[in-house]
Amino acid sequence: MNALTTMMLLPLLGSVLIALIPTDQVLRIKQAALGTTLLVAISGILAWIKFDSANTSMQFVQSASWVPSFGINYSVGVDGLAIVLILMSVLLAPIVVLAGWNESEGGRWSAKVFYILILVLETLIIGVFAATDVFLFYVIFEVMLIPVYFLIGGFGSGERAAAAVKFLLFSLFGGLLMLASIIGLWVLSATNGGHTFDLATLSDLHNWMSPTTQNFLFLGFFIAFAIKAPVWPLHTWLPDAAASASPGTSVLLLGVLDKVGTYGMIRFCLTLFPEASKTFTPLILVLAVISIIYGAFLAIGAKDIKRLIAYTSISHFGFITMGIFAMTTQGHSGATLYMFNHGFSTAALFLVAGWMISRRGSSTIADFGGLQRVTPVMAWSFFIAGMSSLALPGLSSFVSEFLVLVGTYTRYPVAAVIATFGIVLAALYILIPVQKALHGPTTPGNENLPDLNLREKIAIAPVIAIIVALGFYPAPLLNVINPASAHVLKVQGFTDPTPSESAGK
């Protein structure tokens, strides 16, 4: 059976299994959820091993007719970009389950509902990266909102219902704009060989589109993805959602789901509408640079630790978007690697922050202090996660941020130079809370906080291991990403600028 379909079915089966376990057997439910996500992670790793990085076409392809009269197919397949993101998602899922072992308690509904939602979400996440049929992608893109909505609204804290609604309305609005573009694409595809949603066929369609049409269709997709990613000024839902969601949900939301936005920009915006992408590049780069700087400033000013992480993510997504629209191989590879790394460093930050918050009963940074002495392991974990977030050389994010900046500089030096200030600001927004929360005298009330327990250590260890390992040796990922990025750009006629020799030679 097809590897991707199997990976999508496993969590679904797991959720059915959980539905059959009596509601009061919470431990059994958690074990089933952990077992399922581990199984999916293993099958993900196996798929990763089987994946042939030299082959730039889609792999693990499967296609079955779904609604033939509309030309809709269930088509899945992955290239280097998609497999990397799927790998990231399936690795993060068991970590989220393990790290947030008690998250489901105190929710509006039972633990059963929580884990069913998480597993359904995992299926959809794999599907959204694997879909090669535009309609299938859209369906999953929209349906994915529902479990997240209930996860935020049902198991979050604070103003969770309002945050969930804000998230849903923003996303639905973007989704409906995308639907208009998808209908447009579909109707146009009839003039060029019959109605289809097949991505490969549609990627030729831009040759037959008028520039105006292409621009409008591009905008429908781009706005949807820019809301998801999120790019300034469409980011306002994210801090609220992240602050209200439980840490595990936040990891899935910021670490995984938001990547659908940036992934979609590569897979759909650039592939389907290359000319329009070029037209809008200056505008998008401006937005990306604003996101980088503005997100960083918001983060510096943040008092709430969860909001802080959300704001840093806005800055990071600015980098990713900039790397994508630089349209250079390095920029693209950097952006994709950035997505992977951001997943893990955000996960580390959110999970450790979640533990800190649940121990202290507060998410205000000022309430922490001197954790280094009281809870050394937790403090060190947070420190490393923070260093990864500010892209310290030797940690994985450095490689990707560097690649993005280099890739952007070769074509858009001004944007790259301004974005570099983002790195300086990153040092501020990470080091200030690190200093406040971890160092200095122990704030009264924190003396007796317990350090990480074994379960939490097991959960955080692989994340930190990946952050450090990929910092020193990113080749295994880059070997897969590079050919894929080069292929995506080449197919639609983007070329890297040739380095010009300096004058006076």
């Binding site: 509309f70 529902i146 609604v165 309305l169 209908i183």
Partner: protein, 505 residues
Amino acid sequence: MQFFAPILHYAQLAPMLIVLAGALIGVLIEAFAPRDSRHSSQLFIALFSLVAALVALLRMRNQTSIDAAMGSVSFDGAGILLQASVLIIAILSVFLIADQENFTALAASVPGSDEERQALQTDLRVTEVYPLTLFAVAGMLLFPVSSDLITLFVALEMLSLPLYLMAGLSRRRRLMSQEAALKYFLLGAFSSAFFLLGIAYLYGYSGSLTFLGIQESVTGGAGNDVFLLLGIAFISVGLLFKVGAVPFHAWSPDVYQGAPTAITGFMAAATKVAAFGAILRIFYVSFANAEWQWKPALILIAIITMVFGSVVASTQRDIKRTLAYSSIAHAGFLLSGVIALSKPGLDASVFYLFVYGVATLGAFGIVTLVCDSAGEVGDLNRWSGLGKRSPIIASAFALFLLSFAGIPLTSGFIGKFSIFSAAYESGSTAILIAGVLSSAIAAFFYIRIIVLMFFKDPVEDGTSVLIPSALTTITISISAVITLILGIYPAPLIDFINANAFFLR
């Protein structure tokens, strides 16, 4: 002067005749059967005649002709599909009507009188609602297959008059119900007058009353175009009134709110199918060649209807009024199928009408269940926490709302996709954009209701969810299953509609 006996093809008219016969038997039962046995026998007759009509219809599905009744009735593929939809919806409605909690004990009694009190005490039942339903259904069966203007008018009155009465049968807040009935009747009579005037103009224009005769005149272009325009305009007023399109919608919120909920569901679902069936037929058959004369106006009406319905729905505090405005918005979406004026537009409309009707019935079925000691609870605030009180009912309601909102994996999404793509394919970009934007607005209030049900705590004010009777359960669960299945795997029905939906002309 010579008279010829009309040649009638009874087999093709059988569905209507069976339903009419059932209605007449119902009247006889009212007159002669003892009171105790009336309810069960009426229910049996109603269900039996509707099912028999459906069977007769399915047996005749391959024998299409335009000569079923001397050119007055077209028994063609589209007509059969619409009739089948009406019958299925009617059967499901009868299940709701059978739950007599919502109906007045004695319709003829003055509200608040001794007579009424006595009737309530002796537990009388309004069994006359069954023959009325059957008469209305017979009219609804005739309406979409009528192919001359007089038959169309007769069908219009045949379906309307029983509905006016049925709207006044509510058990509680009877004055409001009777006011709604009167309002509906007066405005309905007003619109019928317009309709008749339109017939006169069209007869003056073409010298013919049949759709085909008008079509010939339009194609030939010999007549006076002013008469044609006036005729189309006035006929449209009558038809658009029935579907509740802006600016002819004013009756619908009041009537939806005042009528017994089971009747509201029947009216909202079945009338829409019948009336849109007639609109589709007359515009596709008679006026197709004059499209430049009516299309701009109809596009304008469609856009206003979508936007108005969606915007006003978001301000409502009563569940039935919210659903009324939502149905106005859906009338706007459905008009895009008329505007498309193409085979895909017809297919999409037929599909949309069926799935919308089914979901509407399910939704109103659930409204009948949310009660306090004084009857149904319409106030949305009191719906809060429904998800906690009764998770299954709340989930089913959420499913219907998601279908109305057009979220993927519900039938409403497929309907919306197909109808908007048909409209766009025929060149109406404005419809696509307006449709998508008003869907976004509409999503807001559908989601607000979901928030109320799931994310708010129940208020202890005596609101409770009745345990549905067996028949109501059947309606709600069949509607939910159809909504879900046609959302996940619509291909068989879509293919069937594509193969069969034709207007003979």
